[in-house]
């Protein structure tokens, strides 16, 4: 929305040139297996995911840089696992600020202490802060380095599109002329105002909240640790709610709620924003000089398409769904979309699966969007009360929470967490009743293991396709020759021939391996099936739910 006049870049933006293809009769003569519309974090993550599975894509992006301004700010542990598969988790972690805790205040009294799930089994912190533009740059650098598999068309805009039975034709516009591009599959990653969604005449359904938040990024050097801080009705801004997150490069992200009687158009002007920020910084004891970097207005939306597959056109990220920012499910859920779609679309393009596998993408991710909306709505109801009743009850809860921790759980911001696809068509029946462990549709629980390569984490052992994790005391690995999967044998103790072993003694109980357990894991890390004893027909049937 509105950048402040003195807008400063977060870092030195790279400007990419327009690289038009060879054009024959007004068209790109290459028939592309996949065209991705939108080069934001979701489009880039999808292109990288497809490339990892050996599928080429062309990516169409209207701008010549990564995004401007303050957008997504937090990356979840689950997203870091996915970014790791794309080869960029290290680059993200090198720049990001990790955090595990937060404090909520009512007036000047701390009333709730947020503790994100963190234990000795984890490979990644529960949350890191990094500006979206910097995360995007990491993805763009990686994608540009894979030019043989990812063809990014910067400064290229979608004008219109036509879908036929066997493919999609895009009409593209550039400063050096327009051309048509044909692809077998198109994925819309073009954000909240998706041109693809409009071209297909599709509409979101759901709710829009009235409350408006102002988003301000400021440059401030402060030693205050990285954590989530929220103030309800602070003396610095009576009646308002303020959030603060520390970002890399001495940027602080400040979000605050407008009163119902304020006009957002007026309220977003620097002369109205800066005094409030100043008042708050002074009150919390930040005395150093600061300057604004970005200001925009935000309103919470709970909107989704009913299906993310429309023939040969698929939707991901904000093009598919909008969730409120409270709980940081926006970019994180979009990265999850790309992660879910990449292996499925690759399998279809490569003839390993029928296109109905893409229907499971839609079913799983529409379910995820509804779950995300449900949780984010709860956060929003507390952060931006949608009626006088919610406001009244919040005042009561906050006031009681200062004296009685029983009420403090109502203040929990309900941060994003991995979603279990309990009813996925890809799940095998869970008939063996393992005493513990992730159920079909859930993501793996992290745990360190020892391997011949040294200490590793379980999720790092997964293969490119399906993986069979065999947890057995000392039996030799199951014979998997000819099966389209990676076999990983984890023994209970160091055993010759085992890929890894449970050196901590925590893995076997965590996975209900008493004495043995077999987990079939999808390429995206969700469990497809699990058994106490492995029968080839069960394994074949489970794989057959996805692959031909």
């Amino acid at each position: 929305m509105a950048a402040v006049p003195e807008y400063h870049e977060y870092f030195a933006y790279r400007h990419y040139p327009l690289r038009p293809p060879r054009i024959v009769d007004g068209a790109d003569p290459v028939r592309h297996p996949v065209a991705i519309v939108g080069g934001g974090p979701i489009g880039l993550a999808l292109a990288l995911g497809l490339a990892r599975h050996g599928v080429r894509s062309v990516l169409v992006e209207a701008d010549d840089t990564v995004t401007y301004g303050s957008r997504a700010a937090c990356i979840s542990r689950r997203s870091l696992e996915m970014l790791d598969q794309l080869g960029v988790a290290r680059d993200v972690l090198d720049q990001a600020l990790a955090w595990t805790a937060g404090t909520s205040y009512y007036r000047d009294v701390p009333v709730y202490r947020l503790q994100m799930p963190m234990d000795e089994n984890q490979r990644f912190p529960p949350m890191v802060n990094l500006q979206q533009c910097m995360c995007e740059q990491v993805l763009a650098d990686r994608a540009e380095a894979l030019a043989d598999r990812i063809d990014i068309r910067w400064q290229t805009k979608l004008a219109s599109m036509a879908q036929r039975d066997d493919g999609v034709e895009l009409a593209l516009e550039t400063a050096e002329g327009n051309y048509r591009l044909n692809a077998d599959w198109v994925v819309a990653c073009d954000g909240a105002r998706s041109a693809v969604r409009q071209a297909l005449g599709l509409r979101f359904s759901g709710t829009t909240y009235d409350g408006t938040y102002i988003i301000v990024d400021i440059h401030l050097e402060s030693d205050y640790p990285t954590e989530r801080r929220a103030w309800f009705d602070p003396p610095s801004n009576p009646g308002s709610t303020i959030l603060m997150h520390k970002q890399p490069r001495d940027i602080w992200r400040v979000d605050y709620q407008l009163r119902d009687d304020e006009d957002p158009q007026e309220a977003v002007k620097p002369e109205n924003v800066l005094p409030r920020v100043r008042s708050h910084l002074e009150w919390i004891g930040e005395r150093d000089d600061w300057r604004p970097v970005w200001i925009s207005a935000y309103r919470a939306n709970c909107l989704t398409l009913d299906s993310y597959r429309h023939g040969r056109v698929l939707f991901a990220g904000d093009a598919a769904h909008l969730v409120p920012i409270f709980g940081v499910r926006g970019m994180n859920s979009g990265i999850d979309d790309a992660h879910n779609l990449a292996w499925k679309l690759a399998a279809v393009v490569q003839g390993k699966a029928r296109d109905r596998l893409l229907d499971s993408y839609s079913a799983e991710r529409v379910f995820a969007a509804r779950e995300n909306i449900r949780h984010a709505s709860k956060s929003t109801e507390f952060m931006a009360p949608p009626s006088a009743a919610f406001k009244l009850m919040r005042e009561a809860a906050l006031g009681l929470a200062t004296k009685d921790p029983f009420f403090a759980t109502l203040i929990n911001p309900r941060q994003t967490s991995a979603i279990t696809f309990a009813d996925s068509p890809l799940n095998a029946a869970d008939s063996d009743a393992l005493p513990a462990g992730p159920v079909p549709g859930a993501v793996l629980a992290e745990c360190p293991v020892e391997s011949r390569q040294g200490s590793q984490h379980l999720t790092a052992l997964l293969g490119m396709g399906y993986t069979l994790l065999s947890l057995t005391a000392s039996d030799p690995r199951p014979t998997l020759a000819g099966w389209p999967l990676t076999g990983v044998w984890i023994a209970s103790r160091q055993t010759s021939g085992a890929d890894a072993w449970d050196a901590t003694g925590r893995l076997f109980p965590l996975y209900g391996a008493a004495p043995a357990a077999f987990y079939l894991v999808r390429p995206d890390g969700h469990v497809a099936g699990r058994w106490a004893t492995l029968k080839p027909q069960s394994l074949r049937a489970a794989l057959g739910r996805a692959l031909d």
Partner: protein, 60 residues
């Protein structure tokens, strides 16, 4: 004792119900709710202590 999840759900149900009732009649709704919960608690000592706790910091 209510679980966190149960507290969350009944809190939200109360919010939605009050939204339907409307601001003007919300005090009456809350008074009726208080009376019904007094009956459920059925212990005058605990009810008196809750009344005292509710009273703290309410006056401005």
């Amino acid at each position: 004792m209510l679980t966190d999840q149960e507290l969350d759900e009944v809190y939200t149900q109360a919010c939605y119900t009050m939204t339907e009732v409307g601001e003007a009649r919300t005090p009456v709704f809350l008074a009726r709710l208080a009376l019904l919960l007094m009956k459920e608690v059925g212990d005058s000592r605990r009810i008196r202590s809750a009344i005292e706790a509710a009273r703290v910091d309410v006056s401005t």
